[in-house]
């Protein structure tokens, strides 16, 4: 599954995290990448989009199917 961080107002995708392994409220971890969410929101889905695309409405968020990423201090 892929993680997408997008602008809340425009729904423009800022960051794509392929092959999401785990996530929590602030962080998405993929195979070779990790992102910390800022002012945007994120969604986990099987659908394929590219950075810069507008995320369609009504996409099911599957973050509940992804393991919880432990919070690191």
């Amino acid at each position: 599954m892929n993680g997408y961080i997008y602008n809340t107002e425009t729904r423009k995708i800022a960051t794509k995290i392929p092959n999401v392994r785990a996530c929590n409220d602030t962080t998405i971890k993929g195979d070779n990448s990790m992102a910390v969410i800022g002012t945007g929101q994120y969604i986990i889905t099987d659908a394929e989009y590219s950075e810069g695309d507008i995320l369609p409405e009504g996409i099911e968020d599957k973050r509940a199917e992804v393991p919880v990423l432990p919070i690191q201090y």
């Binding site: 602008n7 425009t10 800022a14 960051t15 070779n32 990448s33 992102a35 910390v36 800022g38 002012t39």
Partner: protein, 357 residues
Amino acid sequence: MATYNTRIKKRNASNTGWDSILPITTAENVLINEQGDTVATHMADDVQVTNTGQTEPPHGLPKCKYDATVAPTEDNDSSEGYAVGSKWIDTTHAKIYECVDATGGAAVWQENGVASVDTTDIPRATTANATYYVATTGSDENDGLSSDKAFKTINKALNLIPQIVNHIITINIADGSYNEAITLRGKLGGGKIVFKPAGTGVILTGYTNAVTSSIDKAAIVVEKCYCSISIINKPIVIKPSGNLGSSPFVGLDILSSMTTPNWFMISINGNDITTSGEKKGIVVHSSITYLYSCAISKCHQAITALYHAKVHSYNNTGSNDVSGTALYALRGATISKEGTQPTGATNELTEKGGVIR
């Protein structure tokens, strides 16, 4: 020349004291040839290599002169240190000579043809600290050494900086809009190049070709520099003029350089950049640098570090919430954080061994 004696002390048979002290290596007692020359006599002839293109080779090589303005004479002989094999370049007439006989008062120099050495290519070095002044009201015909004799362009001051920087070169920039880019390439040494905007109104509207691949245009480029380079006091504001079409743009592009310990201060707002390409604040590629008090807003990426770059980000600000990433480290690069950081839709992104900590 200082000489150091190393001595061997030998304990006596009863182990109650020293019964001999043997100097073994002094400059005076180490022979270097069968004629009785010692290290001391040899080093007494030593002369220094200077920063001005002059020309004493290491011991064992004949003395040469690469900056002469006349041809050698029979008096340029062994008494001046020349020997068979010495080279002499007459830069005025572009001729090269080789000594075939260094006999005192009867030296023979053989012309070997037109010199192929262009002395203008010899790296130059700073000889003292220098401060230049730049103002939009100035003139590049001025000497730039005082505020009332300021240069008109930043590049006029940059062109006076030699490749080797062993002193502090300060460029004071008065408020105003400068339609030029800043490029520093190949500077090295133990000194510093310091850009010092007077206020918050120093605006750079020009741009040049970027050096990091995937970016097309840049306002400030630092490439292959190994001396301290910094923008201090106030940030330089980046506002490229005109329409860049689809060119990706970066405010500050640093490639293969080590610019610490001082820092860069820039201010860039993506809304001031007209391009359909990506807008980036600062890109640091294979370099070590320190970013302080930069304001980066409305960019796709505020600070990007790639290819094992090391970036320290200290008290930088800005909102890149359109669709942007604030801090982006990839391919073994590290961004270390201290104080405030710019924000984005994505605050931090690491890929392929990048680290943000």
